[in-house]
């Protein structure tokens, strides 16, 4: 990969029983998935606090994947429905902040769906390459100029 080329950073919150196992299976089966994705295992997608997603985006992630059991298959019966509702609310919220909705993606991936995990991760990498870096906390040129002026004034 050429240096300087944008390499998207994806944070993936994967539920232990389904999506994480599916990701694990993809690895073991050597089905290529995106190297851009950093997996974070949660017991259930119902555990995912919207704050985790915002934190990820504010900390340098270009996109966040939430992946869990198919509706009806949740190990804790309804946790993934909570996640469904939160994800919809999250997408609405990030859009209001001026962040492209596609940067937050919800998928149902079972423990056996290694192919799906791989496909989704690669698709998401492609989407983010198209959208470009989020760079949420990188200072704008104006902010940098202001910081220089203020430092000069205080000196």
């Amino acid at each position: 990969m050429a240096s300087g080329e944008f390499r998207p950073r994806i944070v993936g919150f994967l539920c232990s029983w389904c999506a994480y196992s599916g990701a694990d299976l993809a690895g073991v089966s050597r089905i290529p998935s995106s190297p851009c994705l950093t997996a974070i295992r949660v017991m259930c997608t119902g555990r995912i606090d919207p704050g985790f997603v915002l934190h990820a985006l504010a900390s340098g992630a270009d996109g966040v994947l939430l992946a869990g059991c198919h509706p009806g298959d949740c190990h804790y019966s309804e946790g993934n429905f909570k996640c469904l509702r939160r994800a919809i609310a999250l997408r609405q919220l990030v859009k209001a902040f001026g962040i492209e909705e596609e940067r937050v993606r919800l998928e149902w991936i079972s423990a056996s769906e290694a192919d799906k995990f791989a496909r989704v991760s690669v698709e998401m990498e492609g989407t983010l390459r198209g959208l470009g870096p989020l760079g949420w906390n990188e200072p704008t040129p104006r902010a940098e100029a202001e910081a220089r002026r203020e430092a000069h004034a205080e000196a």
């Binding site: 704050g51 202001e146 002026r149």
Partner: protein
């Protein structure tokens, strides 16, 4: 024994926090009797240059209200941090940005355009704007503070010792803080939120709560709510579950939903995220399209979930 030296300053604020101190009524005379007030520009004839001349650490307590909007606000924040042994972010603006931080949902350019150009009552054919340095017709240069791109909270500029939340902090809570300081007893750990509760606003609200199954969100003018039942139960977005206790749940008792001015509850990092998490838990649907439709009833997510806390939120501003 000399009286402790007290300073009060207002940055980008509305003045409500000072009036909240006035709402101590006769107790405010006790404040005056027990402190030597050394700097309070709105009330004392003490100049910026005078406080700049004070020695570091020579002010015992500084109550700083207002957000950091301009270079003048920022400068005073730094000046007071150096001179105050204890610096308190007093009120919602200094604590988390409050209403002035809603400007982070727009831009400096949009503000100047709205105020000085697009405003229908403004006659400005030459496109004049306030300048950081301007020349008077007498040939003298004068300066105005710079209007920063982003509104900041006090702790985004300097180290803050304590936070007193609220818009404004309620008078009886302010008195608690004054008494605590005057008592001479140990204060809570640095960085604590003081003058407020440790729970959510719901704990102070007398309305009856039932199991929530929300099928529709309503706006306050669209419904006459039952005065005894939880507002959220009735479909009105109320930020009580994601707001720190301390005010006594005044707004729900007056028939209006909480908008979160006391900031997030303890241990909650982002008030808006917590609120949407709470709402998502109680929406009564498992169908994606239906859920979307229900959530579309929330017409202004940023302004609703971060009405007071945008400055302290994780994302902090809108792009």
């Amino acid at each position: 024994m000399p009286k402790p030296r007290l300073a009060l300053y207002w940055a980008a604020s509305c003045g409500g926090c000072e009036i909240a101190i006035l709402d101590l009524h006769e107790k405010v005379l006790e404040v005056e009797a027990n402190f030597e007030i050394v700097f309070w520009p709105v009330a004392l004839d003490v100049k910026y240059a005078d406080v700049e001349a004070m020695a570091p650490g020579s002010i015992d307590l500084c109550l700083f209200n207002g957000a950091i909007r301009t270079s003048e606000n920022e400068h005073l924040a730094r000046v007071l941090r150096e001179r105050a042994r204890t610096l308190v972010a007093f009120g919602s603006c200094a604590h988390e940005g409050c209403i002035p931080a809603l400007a982070n949902a727009t831009s400096r350019e949009a503000i100047f355009r709205a105020v000085y150009h697009d405003s229908p009552s403004t006659a400005n054919p030459d496109g004049v704007e306030p300048q950081t340095v301007a020349m008077l017709s007498e040939g003298i240069e004068v300066a105005l503070p710079e209007f920063w791109e982003e509104v900041k909270t006090l702790d985004q500029i300097v180290d803050v010792d304590y936070y007193v939340p609220g818009c404004p902090p309620q008078a009886h809570r302010i008195w608690e803080v004054v008494e605590a300081v005057l008592s001479g007893g140990p204060l809570p750990p640095k960085g604590s939120v003081i003058g407020a509760g440790q729970e959510t606003c719901c704990e102070e609200c007398p309305r009856t709560r039932e199991e929530k199954r929300i099928r529709q969100f309503l706006r306050p003018h669209q419904v006459i709510a039952d005065p005894s039942r939880c507002l959220l139960d009735q479909g009105l977005v109320c930020l009580g579950p994601a707001t720190r206790s301390g005010c006594g749940a005044l707004c729900p008792q007056a028939g209006m939903p909480c908008r979160g001015c006391y900031g997030p509850p303890p241990q909650v990092r982002d008030q808006g995220a917590k609120m949407i998490s709470a709402l998502a838990s109680v929406i009564d649907s498992t169908d994606e399209q239906e859920i979307q439709k229900i959530l579309d009833g929330i017409v202004d997510p940023v302004g609703t979930f971060y009405r007071f806390s945008l400055g302290h939120s994780m994302l902090r501003r809108v792009r």
